[in-house]
Symmetry: C2
Subunit: 336 residues, 2 copies
């Protein structure tokens, strides 16, 4: 598989990005070609640090930097030679099958939307994030692509999220829930109140409204929301999980007895950390565009970047886009 | 202090409610009178269970039940003799200084809005929730009263939240943040993009946008959002914290070594649980109404209800409403 990696995007770029690329190349032989878009001397310096001269690497030199203060649209229009734009160009040109970026999310979404265009029948792309719970994993969609979504967008998120849960998580007839401020039908804001009957009539396996209390104890396979709510929710969960580990560590280190307890309990903590650590997935696919774009966290570690590259391979392997095209078409046909 | 408690509201009513009342009466001598609104025989039976014949209790018999499927407005209009309506009537009539309910949030909010009316200059009430972090506590406002808020409502939430942080948490010139999907000024949805400049010009100590990653590591004193986002956020945090403890427990119990570790580490877990347990506050004030209404969780435990009654006392003691009236007036004067 041929992948384009935005080497300059993210808070710790190019260091963590290149480190992650080196780890991925070692671990995933099915990456046949890896484009690194970015400043050639800096990228080369990082590769040298890791003693990496893998023949699958091709550096594509870029000259512009997307700043966090740029709007997504400005970034794409004015900075055609940025590392994120060039990575997505490679997908558009068919030279790469997927682009991965830990940089400016708005720029990656807008560049994908403009350059790759949406799949037939999809109005707006949405970011899908795989989330843990006490039981199964579930899909949160949209985790941040479309903050001012309309009801029709949420229905498409539901269709895309269900197709994704089917082909990546192996769920049959995935159950879909609508994120709301209560489970009762009457609960919601204007957006969800308008969306709920559309989902109920969609032919999807629709549970109805779900609330925060359901997410980690009894989640449906897919939780649908607008990109503002989803982004707040995703980042809040990451922050709280991290803070709880930090609090527990602080309290464990506060006395000898609990310190000894902590040493003995370490394997259990490691397992919980692994199950709840966003870095294990490392990236989230932008669903609904005609190509594969994987969005990573700005603060992504090398380990997260390695996993984001794995996620890119899996999204290609599982033929996610053909599944989505099919699901959208089925829904469209049954509605007419 | 005279308090009216909705004895029938909540998933475990009247059992947990009455049990909480009994605990509170034992612990808080400054409760001089406690009205219990509900079905007299059932309330009396619960009191008898706890051997409680405290002379400060007065039962107000009610005959109607608000169902979770009722809309807030319907509940108030059609069920005038419900336990939540009657509790708020007692505040309106000046017989109680505060009402506490773990029942239908929409009904408690609507009854408070219609019967007590808003404070001068306040358009919509908002629920304030005290939240933990690695460092200080902070105030989330609105946690669920007004799901379709407008920019002017968010500005009032900020003013009320800051007044609350000042008089209850003792913060001087509290810092306010606007909940968004990124910290940059450009981030947000239509609502927050319109609200941000209003907050920047409000004279409040405004940090700008905050995102989920800030909430537990570096929160401002007050985080402002609409009631939909706030409710999703609050319930998600409660669910995740609960699930993480459950996951850790499950993993600790999976082997002998970690079981022993868990026993030794127990005091540390207890401290973290106490710091992150929503039951420690038990209730959230509905700010902006001319009276004190404390909203508790539907699933509130007896311990949570006891603490909700403590919260009612504190809200009266700290003269929260005079502070809010003053803050709204100052803001209004400086804007003109």
């Amino acid at each position: 598989m041929k992948i384009a990696l935005d080497a300059m995007g993210g808070d710790h770029a190019p260091e963590n990005i290149i480190h992650g690329a080196v780890l991925a190349l070692r671990e995933y032989p099915h990456i046949s070609h890896l484009f690194l878009t970015g400043d050639t001397p800096r990228v080369e310096a990082e590769l040298k640090k890791h003693g990496c001269n893998d023949s699958r690497i091709e550096i594509i030199h870029t000259t512009q930097i997307v700043e966090m203060a740029d709007s997504g649209l400005d970034a794409v229009r004015r900075k055609k030679d940025s590392s994120v734009s060039r990575a997505i160009d490679l997908v558009k040109e068919g030279r790469a099958q997927a682009a991965v970026s830990a940089g400016h999310t708005g720029a990656a979404v807008t560049a994908s939307l403009i350059k790759l265009r949406t799949l037939p029948g999809v109005e707006r792309p949405a970011i899908a994030s795989i989330m843990p719970s006490l039981g199964k994993y579930w899909v949160l969609i949209d985790a941040g692509a479309n903050p001012d979504a309309e009801p029709a967008h949420l229905v498409q998120n539901a269709i895309m999220g269900a197709a994704y849960a089917e082909c990546v998580l192996g769920r049959k007839n995935p159950e879909v829930g609508l994120m709301s401020n209560g489970t009762e039908d009457e609960k919601g804001n204007a957006l969800t109140k308008e969306t709920r009957p559309l989902l109920a009539a969609s032919g999807l396996n629709f549970r109805g409204n779900v609330e925060g209390h359901d997410l980690f104890h009894n989640p449906p396979d897919v939780v649908v929301c607008d990109g503002f709510t989803g982004n707040v929710l995703l980042k809040t969960c990451e922050s709280l999980a991290h803070a709880m580990f930090a609090m527990i560590k602080r309290e464990l280190m506060a006395g000898l007895r609990t310190k000894i307890g902590a040493t003995l309990a370490k394997p259990a903590f490691k397992r919980v950390h692994k199950a709840t650590n966003a870095d294990e997935y490392g990236g989230m696919p932008l669903l609904g565009v005609n190509g594969v774009t994987i969005i990573s966290h700005g603060g992504a570690s090398a380990y997260a970047m390695k996993n984001a590259l794995r996620m890119a391979c899996e999204t290609i392997q599982h033929s996610v886009n053909p599944h989505i095209i099919d699901a959208v078409k089925r829904h469209h046909d049954s509605a007419n």
